[in-house]
Amino acid sequence: MSFLKKIAKPVYHKAQDNSMGRRSITLAFLLRRLTRRFGSKEKASSYLAKNMHRFYITGSKFNKGTQIKNLFRKVDIHIPKSGFIFFLDEFKHLSEDGHIIDNISIDYSKVLKSSVYEYNELYFHPKAGRGFARDLSSDFIKNQLDALDGIELLIYRIIKKLRNSNHKDRAKFARYFENMIDKPAEHFEEALQRILFYNQLLWQTGHGLNGLGRLDKILEDCYFDDLNSGLITQEDAYDLIKSFLKTLHTYYWYKSAALMGDTGQVIILGGKYDDEYGEYYFYNDLTYMFIRAIKELHLPDPKVLLRVSSETPRDLIELSLETINTGIGSPLFSNDEVVIDKMIEFGYDKEDANNYVVSACWEPSAVGKGFEQNNINFISYLKPLNEFFDNETEQFLENVNSFGELFNSYKYYLKKDADELIAFLDNIEWNNDPLLSLFIDDCNEKNMDISQGGAKYNHYGITTVGLANTVNSLYAIKKLVFEDRKYSLNELNKMRKNNFKKDKYQAILTDLKNVNPRFGMDDEEILDISNEIIQFLEDCFKDYTNKFGGKIKFGLSAPSYISAGAEINASFDGRKAGEPLSTHISLDTNKDFTEVLRFASKLDYGGAKFNGNVVDLMLSPDFIKNHTDKFTDFIYSSIQLGFFQMQMNVVDSKTLIEAKENPEAHPNLIVRVWGFSAYFNDLPEEYQDLLISRALKNEGKIAS
């Protein structure tokens, strides 16, 4: 999720009013990327200075299609000595007019089946007949045709350069590129190359967080054709997959958004589907190969999401667990038994729900059919609760006579934040996007750019954070103030406002921290409070539709737990001012994983509440290894029980602490953050500290 970008964007768009401003903002982003690439600002600055002659931004006086054509004419082409062709020119930029649509997966199965020629055909004049005249009646089509010309131009430039290069298989790869002009992809390697090429185009045109989609399904035909005709063996295919993944891992510094590792490169594998004969689980050789490959390569990125159901083969779950046990934090399990139904309930066609993928982290969406911005902003549940207690007078608090009254006041504040968010959403302008419009249904049918509402689905997805802190705060107040009458609201609030600093507040601080039951426990009261809050938020959004007719969906997993915690005061769950909010759906102090799974399965994900709901487990190394069989049983039982999604961090506090003190000793230590995996050493200190403290809690070495 592109957090920094979000903060920087208002500045950016103001600066766009003059071309100098646009240039300097783009340069600032470039410098940030280069700093990651070279590891220091000095090296980055000197590299930038030496290469300034390569710097280029398209002129915004041209339409977007022409700009794309100009960009693809200008990008520097890099041909490696062997293997897949994939390059990004960090100095060439497309002008940004409004927010660039990001965080989605295009449908690569269409890319494999179609050619530039076939895309061109979409825009021929219907009356003149196919192949005679281009239809230039609308700006949309002009843009589309220009963008297509740009793609064709770049393909020819690559072919020419390839032929003159020392690439080991230049003839073969030149043929793969030639085929992109007028043929569907036929072979497995060719298909992988074609996916990489179109993926490259998205990155080069400023799209971030580009998902890869259901690659085992997309590649199935090419793979089996090659295998059955004896062109490749399984081993060949496996080697190609590894090489493909390594290629995707290149330009890590370019692709990462808010944090290193935050690339959105998620590969979706497996998946439940049903037809008139019954329910099935889709998987094939490639499903296993992709997981085996990420395990063997031990890379944080790209990452895998495995769609699971009760019918998922046991050895696939076991392989996934073995992979997770290596510490790479992937695959994430997404429970099709729940996710698909919730998508249909929200309004997706059954076929699209069956074929779902996720945005950068966990947010389910229809592949290649949506403009869906699934992580457009977030709501903190805790902020309005704190605001209520910051703003209201002592006199007001004195007159709150019941928990019900307090809950209602909280809801009033929560609704204010929801309304503010809606106002923010309505003000967003989107960058015209001929490239995405080419691939996303139904832009071509509607003759409408995706940024204008051309897509089939146009929903906005938001994330929410801090539900655990809020539920625990409300429950603590309910117990201590309204049931046990140990304190008055004002007394408790005074302690909170003091950030629990005074010595005499230490006992109450411990009480608040250890409130039991708490969020994550299978307790009726806790579940009721949790479900009531999220139902209320859903009601706040119920009547909203955006200018394209899309609705709002939200989920309980958000990347903002550190940033959203940093800006607010202490809270009634014993969280001190500035400390992080709780992570996803987790219960770190408790090793009874069944408890948090039972809890998660009783949360209400219906209506609009399905935009990513991850149970986040912390495991000590070897826990899975020593109990593979039983842990596999646990996963199956959990699928039946009905969790939404689940991810696991296999870490031990000792290694994390050592790595923080001595990064060189642990260069390859990978951890799970948000919905992606990253090198521990690449993370900002506050993320490192949070992981250390969660690991310590999980090992029982510190209390909550």
Partner: protein, 257 residues
């Protein structure tokens, strides 16, 4: 009807087949110096302070509430015979109180496992046997005098109970000896000889051996009890014992608890 327990542990993976809920019953008449659950020895509820908070080991729970807690994880028992494990303390000592619960769980097809030292009157064990699907039997010090002195265990009663189990309808593959090993007591040459004899006699029981650990130190501190630190057992000694046992019972294995 209530029983006295210290803890209910869901998602137990080392206390029998499948995913289990382990109930730790309070009270035991043995005095094993390496005991890792010293808070389960006394039959009384014990208060202590921790971080200047008053806390206590032990509470009484009604059978109804206990059953509710056990059934919470029913969904996780389905795969591979998961269920409930009664541990302690010595669970047989509260068997009369537990019996109605066992009956009810049995009727719901919940797999029932006991972890016992067999230091309980045989008539209590007889009650338990009707309900037990799986049993872990401690085997520690077997010399009559040593057992009495070190463990406060009546070894004749132990063997009598063992015979009772052996002659019951319990499937032998569901009976497991668990042998804690430490240099100070159980690993002594004479004792190992006795252990091997016993294993030979009941050759169709499973055998699991493990090193005792020093994890109970902080609990002992809370209880104001002395804790003797045991010397670390080296893997060689452990493997040596394993090999000897495997000559009699090839399925014997090392576990870590």
């Amino acid at each position: 009807m209530t029983v006295r327990i210290t803890n209910i542990q869901h998602f137990s993976l080392d206390d029998g087949p499948g995913i289990r809920t382990t109930v730790f019953l309070k009270g035991c008449n043995l005095t094993c110096p390496w005991c890792c659950n010293p808070e389960n020895i006394s039959f009384e509820i014990e208060n202590y302070t921790h971080n200047s908070q008053n806390e206590s080991f032990g509470y009484d729970i009604s059978l109804k509430d206990l059953e509710k807690e056990i059934l919470k994880d029913e969904a996780f028992y389905v795969e591979n015979n998961g269920g409930v494990t009664f541990s302690g303390g010595e669970p047989l000592l509260q068997i009369r109180e537990l019996e109605p619960l066992l009956k009810s769980l049995k009727s719901k097809n919940i797999n029932i496992c006991f972890e016992t030292s067999l230091s309980a009157p045989s008539n209590l064990l007889e009650i338990a046997i009707q309900y037990i699907d799986e049993i872990f039997i401690d085997m520690k010090v077997l010399d009559k005098k040593e057992a009495k002195n070190v463990l406060n265990l009546d070894i004749d009663l132990y063997y009598e109970n063992l015979e009772l189990i052996n002659s019951s309808n319990l499937d032998k593959k569901n009976i497991t000896f668990r042998i804690p090993l430490n240099n100070e007591y159980t690993l002594k040459e004479e004792n190992i000889k006795d252990i091997l004899n016993c294993i030979e006699k009941y050759a169709d029981f499973n055998v699991e051996i493990f090193k005792t650990h020093n994890l109970a130190e902080s609990k002992c501190k809370s209880l104001n009890q002395e804790f003797t630190i045991f010397s670390p057992v080296d893997d060689e000694a452990l493997n040596e014992v394993l090999e000897k046992i495997q000559e009699l019972n090839s399925n014997a294995k090392i576990i870590s608890l």
